[in-house]
C-alpha cells in the first residue's frame, strides 16, 4: 500500500495512473468502435440488426456462469473508476502546473508543443461532457433527440442521426476525441517509459494511425445515417432479440 | 623580504611525492578533522574537487563562488581534453615523458618536482573521473580513446567530444553536491570574496559580499584555499569568462602573499578573431583542431580570391614550412607568435587583417567529411554560430587570444603560499606550467591539486595548530570589513561620466599593446606610464549606477577593475624585469633570427616573486632559484 501511496504522491505516479486509465479507456474505445461497425453488417435471418443482437449479447455475456448484466456492469464499473481516476489525476496535475507557472510571458511562442497537446484539458472536458450526454442519449434514453426505444439500437441511431445537427455534433466531438487520443496515446508510451529514440517515430506513427482508424470508425456511422444511405428503420419483435 | 621555503623533498625525483607524504607530512586523524574549518574560494575544477575531497575526509568546508551555482565556473569551458600518461596507445608514454613534455613546454621555468608530481598523479585523475561517471570517449571495444595535442609526440589526451572541461567540472560539481547534501560542505553562491583576513601572521578568513543583498560579512577558518582561477581578463578581451578576475589573488598579495611570475600569460593560437569594438570576449576553438587543420595564409598580401580558389602554390603553410617536425602541432606560444608575425607582415586574412586560415580541406579529402565532422562536431557548430561560416566549406579564421595565465600566487610543494594557512590551487597558483602551459594540462593540474595533493598537504599545517584559534570577533576582521566597505563607498561616490566597462576596455588595450604576445623595454615602460594615468582617471571619472545594498553588477565589475588596474602594472613590471625570453614571454630584445625565444638561464632561471610594499610603493622582487637536477636545461626546439 505504501508503494501505491508514494507513487500516487508523485507527479510521475499520477501520470502513470493517467496513462494506465487512459489505456483502459482506449481499449474500451476499440471495442466500442468494433461494435459500432456492426450497423453495416445488416440483419440476421430473422431480421434482427446485428448491432441490436450485439447489444443484447453484452447484457447476457457470460451466462449462465455469471448472472445477466453482471459482465456489463463490471465493465461499466471498471470504466467509471478509470474515467474518474483519469480526470482526477489530470486535474490535480493541472492545478500543480498552474502553481508552477503563475506568471505567463508577455510574448509567448511555441516551437514544438502542438495545439492538440496544449488543449488536452479543453478536449478532455468536452469529451467528459460528451460521455455524460452520450450515456443519457443512447444508453438511458433520458435525452430524446428523436424516437427512442430501449434495445432497438439500430432504430435509435436511425432516428437520432437523421437529424443533421446531431450527426454533425457527434462527428465534431469525435474529431476532438481524435486529437485528444493522438497526444494521449503517444504520451502513454512516453510516460510508461516505453519510448526510446529508435522506437519513437514508429510509436508516434502507430499512435496517430490507430487514432485515425478509430475516429474514422466512429464518424462513419453518423455520416452514413445522416446521408440516408443506410436502410431505414427495422421492425421486429422483441422476443426475437431476448429469446423470451 | 619574503621567506620562500619551497619544501621540496630531497633525493631522486621519482618517488619524491610518496616520500614526502610518508616522511614529511603530518596528518590529521578522522576524529579531529570535523573540528577544522577550511574555506575554499572558487568552485571550478580545483575548488570543487578540493572542497569535495576535504569534505569527504571529514573536514568542515565552506565553499564560495560568485556565480549562481558552483557548476558555472569557467573550467567548464575547456574543450579539448586532459592529459594522462596512461600509455594506453603503447606509444612510449610514461610519467617521465609527460614530465619531460610539461617541463620542456614550460621552457624550464617551473619547479621540476611539482611538474613530476603532476605527471605522476595524472593517471589517477582519469580513474577518479571515470568513477564519478565522466563519459570519456570510448573506442569500439569499450576502452578509453585518446587524441594527441600540441607539443607532444604521443597520444595521451582523454576527451569528451569538445566539452571535456564541462564533463570533468560536472564530475567535480556532483562530488561537491554530494558533500553539500552530506553537510560536510556549506556552499555560498553569489558571494564574492573581497579581501583576505590575516590575523597574527596567518590567513584566518575572508571578507565577502553577498551579491544579491550587498551584505558584507566575515568568515573565519583554520585555513583558506584560493581556487580563484586566472587573471587573463586584465586584457579585457580574453577567452576567460566575463566574471573571471584577479581580486581574490591580488587582495591576498596585498595582505602579504607573494605573487609569482605575473607576466607569464599564454596566448592561445586558435581563437575566433574579434569582429569589432563592441567585442566583449573571445571564443576559443580547441587546439585539438590543429590535429586535422592546416594553418596557412596567402603568400601574396594583395590576395583577393576566396580561400577555396587559392591554389596550393599560393598558400603559405608557415608552421609546416618553419617547423617541419611538429608542423601545425608546435606549442601554443610558437603558434601564436607565428600567427602574429605573418599578420604583422600583412599576410593576415579577414576584415581586420588579424586572422589566419585553419583549413580542414586536406583532412576532409583524406578521411571524408563525415569522419572530420564527427570528430569536431560541436566545435564546427560553435564556429558557424559565431561567424556564419561553415568550416567544412571554407577555412576557419583564427587568431591568438589571451587564454591562460601561468603566473599566480607563489606556493610551496604543499601548495601553501608564504602566508601560513593560505593555499592556492589550480590556475590561481604559479606552480606547474613554467612560462608556458601545454594543451590539456590545465584540467590535469586543477584536479591533481584538488583531488590528490591539497587534501593531504593541508593536514600538515592544520595538525600544527589547534582548531578554531581565531573567530570573526578578532579585530582583524572588523578592520578588513571596514576597508572593504570603504572602497565600495569610495567607488560609488566618484560620480563621474565613464562606465567601469570603458576603463576595463582601455586597460585591456594598454596591456595587449605593451604586455601582449611580444614585449619590449620601451613598450613596457610606456605601459607602466599609462596605467597609473588611467587609474587616476578611473578614480576621478567613474560612473556607477545604483547603490551597494542590492544586486549591482556594475559595482561588482568596478571593484574587479580596481584590482586589474593595480595588477596590470605589476605584470608590466615583471615583464620588464624579466629581461629574457622564455615560453610565452617573448622579449623582442631576446630572440633567435627565426623569432624563437632565447632564454637567459644564467640570470633568469628563477621564479620572480613580488612582495607588496604598500600603496604607491614599488613591490619588492624576491627570487626562488630553480634547480634542474632531474632534467638538465636544454634549448627548446620544435624544429627537428
Amino acid at each position: 500500500m505504501n508503494r501505491i501511496q508514494s507513487l500516487y504522491a508523485s507527479t510521475i505516479g499520477k501520470k502513470f495512473i493517467a496513462s494506465i486509465t487512459g489505456l483502459i479507456l482506449f481499449g474500451f474505445l476499440l471495442g466500442h468502435v468494433a461494435g459500432n461497425l456492426k450497423v453495416f453488417t445488416g440483419t440476421t435471418a430473422d431480421g434482427v440488426p446485428h448491432i441490436d443482437e450485439y447489444g443484447q449479447f453484452l447484457k447476457v455475456a457470460g451466462e449462465p456462469m455469471i448472472p445477466e448484466m453482471f459482465a456489463l456492469w463490471s465493465a461499466r464499473v471498471v470504466l467509471l473508476v478509470a474515467l474518474i481516476l483519469h480526470v482526477l489525476v489530470v486535474v490535480q496535475l493541472a492545478l500543480l502546473s498552474a502553481e508552477a507557472r503563475p506568471i505567463n510571458y508577455v510574448k509567448s511562442r511555441k516551437k514544438a508543443a502542438t495545439l492538440p497537446a496544449l488543449w488536452m484539458m479543453f478536449s478532455g472536458l468536452l469529451i467528459l461532457c460528451f460521455i455524460i450526454f452520450h450515456i443519457l442519449h443512447f444508453t438511458t434514453g433520458t435525452i430524446r433527440l428523436g424516437k427512442f426505444e430501449h434495445g432497438y439500437i439500430y432504430n435509435n441511431l436511425t432516428h437520432s442521426f437523421s437529424n443533421p445537427v446531431v450527426a454533425v455534433g457527434y462527428v465534431f466531438v469525435m474529431i476532438v476525441l481524435g486529437l485528444h487520443l493522438n497526444h494521449g496515446v503517444w504520451s502513454m508510451f512516453q510516460t510508461l517509459g516505453l519510448d526510446n529514440p529508435d522506437r519513437n517515430k514508429s510509436l508516434r506513427v502507430f499512435a496517430t494511425g490507430l487514432t485515425i482508424v478509430i475516429i474514422l470508425g466512429f464518424i462513419v456511422v453518423p455520416i452514413s445515417f445522416m446521408s440516408g444511405m443506410m436502410p431505414g428503420v427495422v421492425t421486429y419483435s422483441h422476443e426475437l432479440l431476448t429469446g423470451h | 623580504m619574503l621567506t620562500l621555503n619551497s619544501k621540496i623533498p630531497s633525493g631522486p625525483i621519482e618517488n619524491a611525492w610518496t616520500r614526502h607524504v610518508n616522511n614529511n607530512l603530518r596528518l590529521v586523524g578522522p576524529k579531529n578533522r570535523p573540528k577544522y574549518k577550511i574555506i575554499v574560494v572558487g568552485s571550478g575544477l580545483a575548488g570543487a574537487s578540493a572542497a569535495a575531497s576535504m569534505g569527504a575526509m571529514g573536514y568542515k568546508v565552506e565553499c564560495f563562488c560568485f556565480q549562481d551555482s558552483p557548476r558555472r565556473a569557467h573550467s567548464i569551458a575547456a574543450q579539448g581534453g586532459i592529459n594522462a600518461s596512461k600509455n594506453y596507445r603503447n606509444d612510449g608514454d610514461s610519467t617521465w615523458r609527460l614530465f619531460y613534455d610539461t617541463q620542456k613546454g614550460g621552457d624550464y621555468r617551473a619547479r621540476e618536482q611539482n611538474v613530476y608530481r603532476l605527471a605522476e598523479l595524472s593517471t589517477a585523475i582519469i580513474d577518479q573521473a571515470v568513477a564519478q561517471g565522466v563519459p570519456f570517449a570510448r573506442e569500439y571495444g569499450g576502452k578509453l580513446a585518446n587524441r594527441s595535442f600540441g607539443g607532444v609526440l604521443v597520444e595521451r589526451t582523454f576527451y569528451c567530444r569538445g566539452e571535456t572541461g564541462q564533463q570533468l567540472l560536472l564530475g567535480a560539481y556532483s562530488a561537491l553536491e554530494e558533500q553539500i547534501a552530506a553537510k560536510t560542505v556549506k556552499m555560498h553562491t553569489r558571494t564574492e570574496m573581497l579581501d583576505l583576513v590575516v590575523a597574527d601572521g596567518k590567513a584566518r578568513g575572508i571578507v565577502v559580499r553577498n551579491l544579491e543583498t550587498g551584505k558584507i560579512t566575515s568568515h573565519a577558518a583554520d585555513a583558506v584555499v584560493l581556487a580563484t582561477g586566472g587573471y587573463g581578463n586584465v586584457y579585457y578581451l580574453s577567452t576567460n569568462a566575463k566574471g573571471c578576475n584577479v581580486t581574490a589573488n591580488f587582495r591576498a598579495y596585498r595582505r602579504g602573499a607573494g605573487f609569482a611570475n605575473p607576466c607569464f600569460t599564454q596566448i592561445h593560437p586558435t581563437s575566433i578573431p574579434a569582429s569589432g569594438e563592441y567585442q566583449s570576449k573571445l571564443t576559443l576553438m580547441s587546439e585539438s583542431l590543429r590535429n586535422d587543420g592546416r594553418i596557412w595564409v596567402p603568400r601574396n598580401p594583395e590576395e583577393k580570391r576566396a580561400p577555396a580558389n587559392i591554389p596550393e602554390a599560393d598558400r603559405y603553410y608557415y608552421l609546416e614550412e618553419r617547423y617541419p617536425r611538429f608542423g601545425n602541432l608546435v606549442p601554443r606560444d610558437v603558434a601564436a607568435r607565428n600567427a602574429k608575425d605573418v599578420c604583422d607582415k600583412g599576410l593576415g586574412v579577414g576584415p581586420t587583417g588579424y586572422g589566419v586560415y585553419l583549413d580542414f580541406g586536406a583532412a576532409i579529402q583524406d578521411k571524408g567529411e563525415e569522419a572530420v565532422k564527427a570528430k569536431y562536431d560541436n566545435l564546427f557548430e560553435m564556429y558557424e554560430r559565431i561567424t556564419a561560416d561553415d568550416p567544412t566549406k571554407t577555412p576557419m579564421r583564427i587568431y591568438p587570444a589571451v587564454h591562460y595565465t601561468m603566473g599566480g600566487l607563489w606556493v610551496d610543494y604543499n601548495l601553501m603560499t608564504n602566508l601560513p594557512g593560505l593555499y592556492s590551487i589550480g590556475e590561481s597558483n604559479f606552480a606547474d606550467h613554467g612560462a608556458n602551459r601545454l594543451g590539456a594540462s590545465s584540467l590535469m593540474q586543477c584536479l591533481a591539486d584538488g583531488y590528490f595533493i591539497l587534501p593531504v598537504t593541508i593536514g600538515d599545517f592544520l595538525s600544527q595548530h589547534p582548531a578554531g584559534e581565531v573567530d570573526t570577533h578578532h579585530p582583524a576582521f572588523q578592520e578588513v570589513e571596514k576597508e572593504v566597505s570603504g572602497q565600495i563607498d569610495r567607488l560609488l561616490s566618484v560620480n563621474g561620466t565613464r562606465s567601469s566597462e570603458s576603463f576595463h576596455r582601455e586597460l585591456g588595450k594598454i596591456m595587449w599593446e605593451h604586455c601582449g604576445i611580444s614585449r619590449n623595454k620601451e613598450g613596457l615602460e610606456e605601459g607602466l606610464r599609462k596605467i597609473p594615468e588611467l587609474r587616476e582617471e578611473f578614480w576621478k571619472d567613474l560612473k556607477l549606477p545604483g547603490s551597494s545594498d542590492h544586486l549591482n553588477q556594475s559595482l561588482e565589475h568596478a571593484g574587479r577593475v580596481v584590482d586589474f588596474l593595480d595588477f596590470g602594472e605589476l605584470m608590466c613590471r615583471d615583464a620588464l624585469l624579466r629581461d629574457e625570453s622564455c615560453g610565452c614571454h617573448l622579449r623582442e630584445e631576446h630572440q633567435t633570427p627565426e623569432g624563437e625565444a632565447k632564454r637567459d638561464d644564467e640570470r633568469f632561471a628563477h621564479v620572480a616573486v613580488f612582495e607588496y610594499k604598500g600603496e604607491g610603493v614599488a613591490p619588492e622582487l624576491n627570487k626562488e632559484p630553480l634547480a634542474f637536477d632531474a632534467l638538465p636545461l636544454a634549448a627548446r626546439n620544435y624544429k627537428t
Binding site: 508503494r3 508514494s6 508523485s10 507527479t11 505516479g13 502513470f16 496535475l93 500543480l96 502546473s97 502553481e99 508552477a100 507557472r101 503563475p102 508577455v106 511562442r109 511555441k110 516551437k111 514544438a112 508543443a113 497537446a117 488536452m120 497526444h183 503517444w186 512516453q190 510516460t191 517509459g193 526510446n196 | 574537487s49 575531497s53 569527504a56 549562481d68 551555482s69 558555472r72 567548464i76 594506453y88 589517477a124 580513474d127 571515470v130 568513477a131 564519478q132 561517471g133 563519459p135 570517449a137 570510448r138 571495444g141 569499450g142 576502452k143 566539452e163 569568462a241 566575463k242 569589432g276 563592441y278 566583449s280 570576449k281 560553435m382 554560430r385 562606465s499 566597462e501 560612473k543 549606477p545
Partner: protein, 258 residues
C-alpha cells in the same frame, strides 16, 4: 541596425515588476545578443539609469548562466543556441524584441532578468552523483563501456543546467533537467548501484521544489540549447516506475556491529 527592446524590469524579489521599452540604433549584425545588451547598459549607465541586470559568464554557450526569454522563446529564436551565442544577424533591422526572465515559481526573479536557480543544485544534491571519495580507483579499461552507451550518456551529460527547459515548459516542469542527469549516470556501469534510489530521490526533490509536471509537449527539447532529447524523460519515467513498483524498498540496511 535599429531595434526596439521591451525588457522586464524588477528591482528586487518582492517588486511587482513591469516591461519597459528602450530603443537602440547602433546595433551591428555581428554583435552577439549580450553585446547588444552591454551596449544598452552602457547607454543606460551614462544616462544615469539603472542598467538591466542579467546573468552571463562564459559567453561561449557552456556555463549555463545566461537566461533570457527572447520573443517568447528561451534563449531566443535560433534552436540549440544559448542567449550568449545568439547574434544580432538573426534579427531584422527595426525588429521589436521582448526580453523576459525565466518564468517559474521554482525560479524566483532576483532582479530584472536574473533568477534564482538554486533549486537545480538541490535536485543534484538529492542524488545527481555517484557516491565517491577521492582516492585510488580501478583502471577505467577494466570496465569497458560500449561507445554507443558512453555517447548517449554524454548526450545527456551535455546539459548545462541553464533552466531553459523549465522556462519553455508551459507547466514549469524540470523533468528534462532531472532526466538528463539521472540518465547520464544511470546508463553508465558506474552509476548502476544507485540508479533506482537516484531516480526516486531526484524526482522527489524536483517535486518539492515546486516544478510542474511533464505533459509531453516536447517544448523543453525544442528550446533546449543543447538539444537534449525527451527520450531521457521516458527513461527516467521508466526507472522511477521500476523503482517505485518493483525494486526492493529500503535496500540500505542498517550496519550492525558484531
Amino acid at each position: 541596425m535599429k531595434i526596439k527592446l521591451h525588457v522586464w524590469r524588477q528591482s528586487t524579489r518582492t517588486d511587482k515588476g513591469r516591461m519597459e521599452s528602450y530603443e537602440l540604433d547602433n546595433v551591428v549584425p555581428d554583435m552577439s545578443f549580450l553585446e547588444m545588451m552591454d551596449t544598452l547598459n552602457e547607454k543606460l549607465t551614462i544616462e544615469g539609469h539603472d542598467p538591466v541586470a542579467f546573468d552571463h559568464d562564459c559567453r561561449e554557450g557552456v556555463c549555463g548562466m545566461c537566461s533570457m526569454v527572447i520573443n517568447g522563446e528561451a534563449h531566443g529564436p535560433k534552436s540549440e543556441t544559448t542567449t550568449c551565442q545568439l547574434y544580432m544577424r538573426h534579427f531584422k533591422d527595426g525588429a521589436e524584441i521582448y526580453i523576459e526572465p525565466w518564468r517559474a515559481s521554482a525560479f524566483p526573479v532576483v532582479k530584472d532578468l536574473v533568477v534564482d536557480r538554486s533549486a537545480f543544485d538541490r535536485i543534484i544534491q538529492a542524488g545527481g552523483f555517484i557516491s565517491n571519495h577521492s582516492g585510488p580507483k580501478p583502471d577505467p579499461n577494466s570496465i569497458p563501456i560500449e561507445p554507443e552507451v558512453a555517447e548517449t550518456s554524454l548526450d545527456a551529460a551535455t546539459c548545462i543546467g541553464c533552466g531553459a527547459c523549465v522556462a519553455a515548459c508551459p507547466n514549469g516542469s524540470a523533468m528534462l533537467f532531472t532526466a538528463a542527469k539521472a540518465s547520464h549516470l544511470g546508463m553508465l556501469p558506474q552509476g548502476q548501484p544507485e540508479r533506482f534510489d537516484r531516480a526516486q530521490s531526484m524526482v522527489k526533490q524536483m517535486e518539492s521544489e515546486g516544478f510542474g509536471s511533464c505533459r509531453n509537449y516536447a517544448e523543453c527539447e525544442a528550446q533546449c540549447p543543447k538539444g537534449i532529447s525527451i527520450a531521457f524523460i521516458g527513461r527516467l519515467n521508466s526507472d522511477f516506475l521500476r523503482a517505485s513498483l518493483l525494486e526492493p524498498v529500503d535496500r540500505r540496511g542498517e550496519m550492525k556491529s558484531q
